[in-house]
């Protein structure tokens, strides 16, 4: 029976091809628009490190001005002062801890023919690599001992290693960075978390770094820092005074394995702030926070307002398309009243009629879904082209999304077909036969 209804549906769709085309296009456009925006939102809010996002916590302490709170007092500052992150680092109270900031430098290749290279870097602690599951092609990150003995070590990105060493295993070799020789200890494989959760303050969808160097090199003025700096209190003269100032520019992550460890760490932070209060710092009420990866992305509003607004609009758009379909299906099925009357008179039950017309709606839905998928693909390409690197790699359809698109089209068209089908099933055969 099912294949018979399919054939009937096909005949009906082809016979009223203009109307069918209109419906398929409407559903296709609606699904296409909805899927484009859903995909963008879905990828923006994706979990970049699902295997341990619950164990990684971003640390916030409220060290800000008592007269003029940060973010109007809603959230503590989004970074830490050098003083605080150094103290937390020294305490070593978490399972793993990482202090970091953005950095940059110039590499002078050995080959005098090659031009010097400006690289974006990250200055971080040894734990960075193990905490964030950074994949390596050669070697590994540096050790905590290297941090303590202030060694000049560097981890290169795959791209930088390709440029400097032609992709060879460069572990043990040296590079000249900012006038100093650094020993290469590892080469990172292609690694681009999206969003780049470990540093959102400099752009959640920026590219990952060219090089990674120990954080202490910033304080020793061996490498220049970049990224955001925010101050509320005047600083003294010179770099030493800047390091000791209330300016925030460092980020601090900890890895805590259990809920208990998290509780303990928060207690430690609170005790630390209480202690600092005695030196006249932290004059605002204690407001220390530990946010895991997904919470931190939420707090920092990584999903752009624009994307959310467009998603809301595209769903309304889909509703318009579905209303359109309801109207057109209604017109079509009611136009078939004489045929329905005849079939009923020949013994077709309401149930058979119902399944026949629902199958016809479903066929239109599937066609619309396929068209929608195609349009969503084009839509995402368009979004990528329009937004440029901001959305680079964010706009891609995966199987989940494809299934969702066709499923959404199917379900919404069947829903849209319910009322017209019901009306069609309730046609009085006698009346239709009389007027024939």
């Amino acid at each position: 029976m099912f294949s018979y209804y399919l054939r009937l549906a096909w005949i009906s769709i082809v016979r009223h091809w203009g109307l069918s085309l209109l419906m398929v296009c409407a559903i296709g456009l609606g699904i296409g628009a909805a899927m484009t925006t859903v995909t963008v939102n879905y990828l923006m809010s994706a979990n970049p490190i699902p295997e341990k996002s619950e164990q990684l916590y971003y640390v916030q302490l409220d060290s800000w001005d008592v007269n003029d709170p940060f973010d109007d007092g809603l959230n503590p500052p989004d970074q830490l002062t050098f003083t605080d992150s150094s103290n937390l680092m020294r305490a070593q109270k978490a399972f793993r801890q990482n202090v970091q900031a953005q950095a940059f430098g110039v590499i002078e290749p050995e080959d005098p023919e090659m031009l010097p290279l400006i690289v974006n870097g990250r200055a971080n602690s040894a734990d960075f690599f193990t905490m964030f599951n950074v994949p390596f092609i050669y070697g590994s990150g540096w050790s905590n001992q290297s941090d303590e003995s202030k060694e000049f070590v560097v981890v290169l990105s795959k791209e930088t290693n390709d440029k400097l060493f032609g992709g060879e295993d460069s572990v043990g070799k040296s590079i000249k960075l900012e006038g100093n020789m650094f020993r290469v200890v590892g080469v990172v494989d292609t690694w681009q978390p999206k969003p780049r959760f470990y540093d959102i303050t400099t752009g959640a969808f920026n590219e990952s770094e060219d090089i990674f160097v120990p954080f202490h090199l910033i304080a020793d003025e061996k490498i220049s820092r970049s990224g955001n700096t925010n101050c509320w209190k005047p600083t003294g003269d010179g770099f030493k005074a800047f390091l000791a100032s209330e300016c925030i520019w460092t980020q601090f992550w900890v890895e805590l394995k259990t809920e208990q460890e998290k509780e303990d760490y928060l207690q430690f932070l609170n005790a630390y702030v209480e202690e600092q209060k005695q030196f006249g710092r932290f004059q605002r009420p204690v407001d220390n926070r530990l946010s895991n990866v997904m919470e931190w992305l939420e707090v920092q509003e990584v999903v752009a307002d624009d994307a959310q607004m467009m998603m809301a609009m595209s769903f309304m758009f889909l509703i318009v398309c579905l209303l359109n379909t309801v109207g057109l299906l209604l017109a079509k099925f009611l136009g078939k009243a004489p045929e329905i009357g005849l079939r009923q008179a020949l013994g077709a039950s309401k149930a058979t009629l119902f399944s026949q017309y629902i199958i016809e709606s479903a066929c239109i839905g599937i066609l619309g879904g396929i068209l929608g998928l195609l349009l969503a693909y084009l839509g995402l390409k368009g979004v990528e082209g329009l937004y440029g690197d901001y959305m680079q790699g964010l706009a891609s359809l995966d199987t989940n999304m494809a299934v969702l698109a066709v499923g959404l089209a199917l379900i919404s068209t069947i829903l849209a077909g319910l009322y017209p089908t019901w009306r069609a099933c309730n046609i009085q055969p006698a009346q239709q036969l009389k007027s024939q």
Binding site: G18, L19, L22, C25, A26, L29, A33, N67, D68, V106, E108, L115, P116, I118, E178, G179, S224, K233, P234, T235, G236, D237, G238, F239, A241, F242, A304, D305, D306, Q308, M309, M310, M313, S314, M316, F317, I319, V320, C321, L323, N324, V326, G327, L328, L330, A331, K332, L334, G335, G382, V383, L386, Y387, G388, Y390, Y419, R423
Partner: protein, 404 residues
């Protein structure tokens, strides 16, 4: 209006069909009006004056990596060289570029002290050539002189004694009379006095999304820093030819630095507003497709309802109705449905706007825009129904006799 009564009674017999169109129109209206509103809002932001002579300016970054490098001496030779290149109007060293999204900000306050109210402003560290190099307009007070320019070391916390601010910043500091700002002393870094010596008409901060984007100040500093920008203004039409020439001249004059990111201010503006532009294009596409879908939906439904009523139309024609009357019947029918849709649509549009205002901090929608939406949808409806109505009018009176 006998006709109207007739139409209403006919509509009442096919409530659902009419209601579906009305709802479609209502939703289209809701989305269209809000989308257009968002487009206008972004366009308004993009049209704000940066204060710069955008068509004839560009900049580049100068990164020094050599050790024991005399930054100050090189700065003087570089600036001298660029300023004397034929076709260049003027050039400066600067710490940040308007609209580029990275820069410095500081807060100024009327009185010295820790707990006083302060207003944030973008900081541009420049010399006395800034007004000429950026193409700014000095509307009150005076420019810096060469004697005002101090050398700033990295990490230095003291500030020069003079500053030039934008008109918007002056209005913020002295709401009663912005011109009175000239000669006044304000405090930077909580306690250090600075005297406002001049006011420029406009100069935007580097961050286009900041609500204080019109507040900037020029500070007379040459920076002794390993990384800085050179900002250059050329004669009309000579920018593109001069960009590679200056880049080459700088790169070749000295091998212990890297010249990078030679960029026009126009490109910076484009980049800065790329997201705005993209969103606007998407919204425009949405509005157009939506209107088309609604239009075609009206066409499809009208054709069907006319097909169903072929006999009745034939009968009316046989009884003496003119083609005009048949056409106007369907036009009128659509008008009534559109009217219902538009009423619901107005409520929807305001409702959606209220949600957008509370969730995304947009401003409330204007009455004119809603009126525009109403008129536009009436026109779309009438245009959409035109072809089916003409088809209906062409139905021959004889049709009535044939099938009975």
């Amino acid at each position: 209006m006998l006709e109207t009564g007739l139409i209403l009674r006919a509509l009442a017999r096919n409530k659902i069909g009419a209601l579906l169109i009305a709802l479609q129109i209502a939703l289209t209206m809701t989305i269209m009006v809000n989308a257009i509103f968002m487009i206008q809002d972004r366009q308004h932001q993009m049209q704000r004056d940066s204060g710069l002579d955008e068509a004839n300016t560009f900049y580049l970054t100068n990164t020094v990596f050599g050790q024991d490098y005399n930054i100050q001496a090189h700065l003087q030779t570089d600036l001298h060289m660029i300023r004397n290149t034929p076709g260049v109007i003027d050039a400066i060293q600067i710490n940040a570029v308007p609209l580029s999204s990275s820069g410095w900000s500081m807060a100024l306050q009327h009185e010295p002290g820790e707990d006083k109210d302060a207003v944030g402003s973008a900081i541009y560290m420049v010399d006395e050539h800034a007004i000429n190099s950026m193409g700014l307009e000095l509307i009150a007070g005076i420019n810096f002189t060469q004697e005002d320019i101090e050398l700033r070391k990295d990490g230095q916390s003291t500030w020069p004694a003079k500053t030039i601010i934008t008109k918007a910043f002056a209005e913020n500091l002295y709401p009663d009379d912005w011109q009175s700002a000239v000669g006044k002393t304000v405090y930077i870094s909580q306690t250090q006095p600075m005297q406002i010596i001049g006011i420029v008409k406009a100069l935007q901060a580097p961050w286009n999304g900041w609500n204080g984007v019109e507040r900037s100040m020029l500070v007379p500093f040459h920076r002794e820093s390993k990384g800085s920008y050179y900002f250059i203004r050329t004669e009309e039409g000579r920018r593109d030819a001069l960009m590679p020439i200056i880049e080459k001249a700088l790169a070749e004059s000295d091998k212990e630095r890297i010249i990078r990111r030679v960029t026009t201010v126009e490109d910076t503006r484009k980049r800065s507003y790329r997201q705005h532009n993209a969103t606007n294009k998407i919204l425009t596409t949405v509005v157009i497709t939506l209107t088309l879908i609604t239009g075609f939906g009206i066409v499809g439904l009208a054709i069907f309802s006319i097909n169903r009523r072929t006999k009745q139309i034939g009968t009316r024609r046989a009884l003496g109705a003119t083609k005009r009357q048949i056409m106007s019947y369907f036009m009128m029918e659509n008008f009534i449905i559109s009217a219902i849709g538009n009423v619901i649509g107005c409520i929807g549009a305001v409702g959606l706007n209220m949600w957008l205002v509370s969730t995304f901090n947009l401003s409330p929608i204007s009455f004119e825009l809603i009126a525009f939406g109403v008129v536009a949808l009436f026109i779309v409806g009438q245009l959409a129904v035109l072809y089916p109505a003409r088809k209906a009018a062409m139905i021959a009176p004889a049709t009535a006799t044939r099938t009975i």
